[in-house]
């Protein structure tokens, strides 16, 4: 028999122990996950977390990051009150003030800039957090500024662009019905366990797995039937090599190509130059593996491609490489087919759940007509995305744009999101007024005039939607810690201080959600009453093939190998309608760079213990990997005379950092991997703010030239 003391110590839920399980979601990583959490709560305090078994998406699992939730929400340096800066920007000297004082100061600071320079000179920016975005965008427009931007400027939208200009819609791989899974830069183990579970199930039912990556990953070890290790930034060449083989060997879907594509002959002629030998030379992949992979992918269908939402985008040729890859869906007839790529309707908060909402109408309601900052530089971005391209923000603040940006309202700004951290910090220093919301006093927040404390997903209720037509409203499992509020409360409460009127937003989050959900058969009340995930009455199961049958939403109504949406920018911006392949260093200003900086630096990559900078200061997470990860190959280590763990210096024209070397057989000679987000070893400080994909404006986190040397002791 167990004693009550034993049960309390083991945190067993029940009436006797007083431990209750309350449901929430993890929002540490991207909104396409947000797994369900069972929070073990006693006396208003979270004691432990576990995945929610009945959750329609995560089915009981949580990743390493989500399992760190308790230490994340109870980090000892959570902001307790609003703060006002009393020292120089960046010095971290701030004093506590009341919310009333904070709201007055924010209103005064923003309205002063508005009065002097006009409303567009106040930029609004949302960091990694997504849940408050529709309300923040609306708030920016209510203020009168067109300039709302976010971390989407460097994340998933490049891939969405590739899909929209090719197929007229976004789509996702249907792993559950595929025979072959082609995982292009598939890092699932450390970023998306759900996909690993699906791919493992595919293998169990006899399916085949092809993985393409620059490094040997856990997926390559545990799941791949064929693994192609590729040089960074050469993915487009490999995709065109596949295409040439598929066409030549009669593996293409002739009917689909004839009936549903535009520009095929031009595409076919273009890929002729990508013979196996050439492709092998460019990509480093052996010729026979290129053949085997193309054959398996094209002949063992249905086949789907994991086109991974961001990492291929982080190259100078990122957008074109995406288009080269995604073109294979059409060439093999795997688009809009069960087990291939299935069109997806955006539902809410960057998630497709199989039914539409009024989110776009809500967030864009009061959008002013005015050019955004940076407009004209990346015309594809301007055409397809309503936000400003945030890579242009520091430049604009520093006086490099058409009109001044003098104030910034940020929610969770990470100074290491953009390349060239020093430039970002210089820009923050140059602002007349800067307000930031966050849970912690981040390096960015230390530059703010006013810092407002916000709470975690455990301390608020919010709408979540999930694939399969599901929606749910969470409830706070604990009250907001200290004096923190939700971001949306802040926008609503600030309106009167700013002298603005928006009846809907003033009523708060629930009223906004009810407006957004109108027509779906759902409401905040019905979702609350259900207490968990429910299917939206308007949700319908998608019937594969129906999108293509109705005509695609492209100028030709077909899949466009020749993207007509790009025709208008060919003359002005040299954007090519075909997915032409260029080298990822085609923008080198000086040919000597390749000699002076002979290694390729890849920053980014997912590690299990953090996302971006988010968990580096959470002790449990940090204990898994205490020092920054800088990985080099065995042969480079030998040449440089570096032993395992010895400090090594990475230098680019932009800067220099030092970290202990991790010598590994997983990375190829000539490549260097540095995980981003560490404060003391800042990968972003090494990157140039001019080395950008001309189509999307995305920074080249995955391919910069660098030099390596053994660090002086």
């Amino acid at each position: 028999m167990l004693t009550l003391e034993q049960k309390i110590r083991a945190k067993i839920p029940g009436a006797d122990t007083g431990i209750e399980i309350k449901k929430t979601v993890c929002d540490i990583c991207a909104p396409d996950h947000h797994c369900g959490i069972d929070a073990y709560v006693k006396d208003g305090k979270v004691l432990k977390v576990e995945g929610t078994r009945e959750h329609p998406y995560s089915h009981g699992s949580l990743c390493t990051k989500g399992l760190c939730s308790r230490e994340y929400i109870y980090r000892s340096d959570r902001l307790r009150t609003p703060l006002r800066r009393v020292g120089p920007r960046g010095a971290g000297r701030l004093e506590p003030i009341t919310w009333e004082e904070a709201y007055r100061a924010v209103a005064e600071g923003l309205n002063r800039v508005k009065k002097t320079y006009g409303p567009h000179s106040v930029a609004f920016f949302a960091g990694h957090g997504k849940w408050f975005r529709p309300m923040m965008q609306r708030f920016a427009y209510d203020f009168g500024s067109v300039n709302f931007g976010s971390d989407c400027s460097v994340c998933n939208v490049s891939l969405i662009f590739a899909r929209i200009i090719s197929a007229g819609c976004n789509y996702s791989p249907d792993i559950a019905h595929a025979n072959t899974f082609l995982g292009w830069a598939f890092g699932g183990y450390y970023s998306s366990y759900h996909d690993v579970q699906e791919v493992a199930a595919l293998k169990e039912r006899g399916g085949k797995v092809i993985l393409i990556d620059t490094r040997v990953t856990p997926a390559a070890k545990n799941l791949a039937d064929l693994f192609l290790q590729i040089k960074p930034g050469t993915d487009g060449a490999l995709a065109h090599g596949f295409a040439k083989l598929i066409i030549e060997n009669g593996w293409m879907d002739r009917d689909f190509v004839e009936q549903h594509t535009f520009g095929f002959e031009e595409y076919k002629a273009y890929v002729q130059q990508f013979d196996r030998k050439t492709v092998s030379k460019i990509t480093g992949v052996p010729e026979e593996l290129i053949y085997e992979a193309a054959k398996l992918y094209a002949t063992n269908g249905p086949a789907c491609i994991n086109e991974v939402c961001f990492n291929l985008a982080h190259n100078y040729n990122g957008q074109q490489n995406y288009r080269a890859i995604t073109g294979l869906n059409a060439l093999t007839g795997n688009f809009d087919r069960a087990g291939g790529a299935l069109p997806a309707v955006g539902t809410y908060n960057m998630r497709s759940a199989g039914f539409p909402t009024r989110e776009g109408a809500f967030s864009g309601a009061n959008r002013p007509e005015h050019p955004r900052i940076g407009e004209g530089r990346f015309p594809l971005w301007d055409m397809l995305w309503g936000e400003y391209q945030a890579v242009t923000l520091p430049e604009q603040i520093l006086g490099g744009g058409d009109y001044p940006i003098k104030a910034l309202f940020a929610a969770g700004l990470n100074v290491r999101m953009l390349p060239d951290t020093n430039k970002t910090l210089r820009a923050l220093e140059a602002l007349d007024f800067f307000v930031d919301t966050d849970l912690f006093l981040t390096d960015a927040a230390q530059y703010a005039d006013i810092v407002l404390p916000v709470c975690s997903s455990f301390e608020r209720g919010e709408l979540k939607v999930y694939p399969g037509g599901y929606a749910m409203m969470t409830e706070p499992v604990i009250p907001p810690l200290y004096q923190s509020k939700t971001d949306v409360e802040i926008f609503s409460e600030l309106l009167p201080y700013l002298g603005l009127k928006d009846e809907l937003l003033e009523q708060g989050y629930d009223a906004c959600i009810d407006w957004i959900l109108e027509g779906t058969g759902l409401s905040v009340e019905s979702l609350r009453a259900a207490g968990g995930a429910v299917k939206a009455p308007v949700a319908r199961e998608y019937i594969p093939g129906s999108y293509v049958a109705g005509g695609m939403k492209t100028p030709s109504g077909k899949w466009e190998f020749h993207a007509q949406m790009l025709d208008r920018f060919t003359q002005s911006h040299h954007l090519e309608p075909l997915a032409t392949y260029v080298d990822c260093f085609a923008d080198d200003r000086d040919p000597a760079l390749a000699e002076d900086y002979p290694y390729i630096l890849t920053t980014g990559t997912r590690v299990p213990n953090t996302i971006h900078s988010r968990l580096h200061q959470v002790p449990w997470a940090r204990s898994l990997r205490p020092s920054p990860l800088l990985e080099i190959s065995r042969s480079d280590a030998q040449e440089l005379g570096i032993a395992q763990g010895e400090p090594i210096e990475v230098e680019t024209p932009q800067g220099r950092v030092c970290a202990p070397a991790k010598i590994s057989g997983k990375i190829q000679k000539g490549n260097v991997l540095l995980v981003h987000g560490y404060g003391a070893c800042d990968a972003s400080s090494l990157l140039s703010s001019d080395h950008l994909d001309p189509y999307s404006g995305f920074p080249c986190y995955r391919s910069s030239r660098c030099m390596l040397r053994k660090a002086e002791e």
Binding site: I12, K48, E50, T64, V196, A200, P218, G665
Partner: protein, 172 residues
């Protein structure tokens, strides 16, 4: 009921979810030098082929015939009767480290504070309440599983039969 915590290295990626779940379950204060009872490793053989590596998640094996229990002079360590987990009654520990000497896996550790043994208890209270050990519950990949005696025997038999079949097929 005897339970077994099994590790399947071919499904592991050393993500550390199990290790963090253990810290959460046991309130491990890593900031003050404490460690969880489970750790993950990524072991690369420097002489091996490109990228050849092994992922490991290691904790107490809860051996049936546990050398640590046999080596403990005070009866601090024992097999918990309802679950078969190897547990410590810390009030009886004299900090002699005999268990650590006996353990082939180097599992028992000792508190920097009171010098007494620290080890995984297999979450035997959770097991007795029908819940999985925290580390097993946290593994999204099926690399850690927990089975009862009957299931364990069945798996053992299947394993033996498969090995025999492979041998027969190879020689035949």
């Amino acid at each position: 009921m005897r339970y077994y915590i099994l590790f399947h290295p071919e499904k592991c990626c050393a993500c550390g979810a199990c290790a963090v779940a253990c810290m959460d379950q046991n309130d491990v204060d890593v900031q003050h030098g404490e460690k969880g009872y489970r750790a993950v490793y990524e072991y690369e053989d420097a002489g091996g082929a490109m990228g050849e590596c092994t992922y490991l998640s290691i904790s107490c094996r809860h051996c049936a015939d546990a050398p640590c229990v046999a080596g403990c002079p005070t009866g601090c360590l024992s097999k918990e009767p309802s679950t078969g987990m190897t547990v410590a009654e810390r009030s009886r520990c004299i900090g002699c480290h005999s268990c650590a000497m006996a353990c082939p896996f180097g599992i028992p550790r000792f508190s920097a504070g009171d010098g007494k043994v620290l080890k995984c208890d297999g979450c035997f209270v959770r097991l007795a309440c029908g819940l999985q050990p925290a580390c097993v519950r946290a593994c999204a990949f099926g690399a850690l599983t927990c089975v009862d005696e009957a299931e364990f025997r069945r798996l053992e038999e299947n394993h033996a039969i498969s090995a025999m079949l492979r041998a027969v097929n190879q020689t035949g």
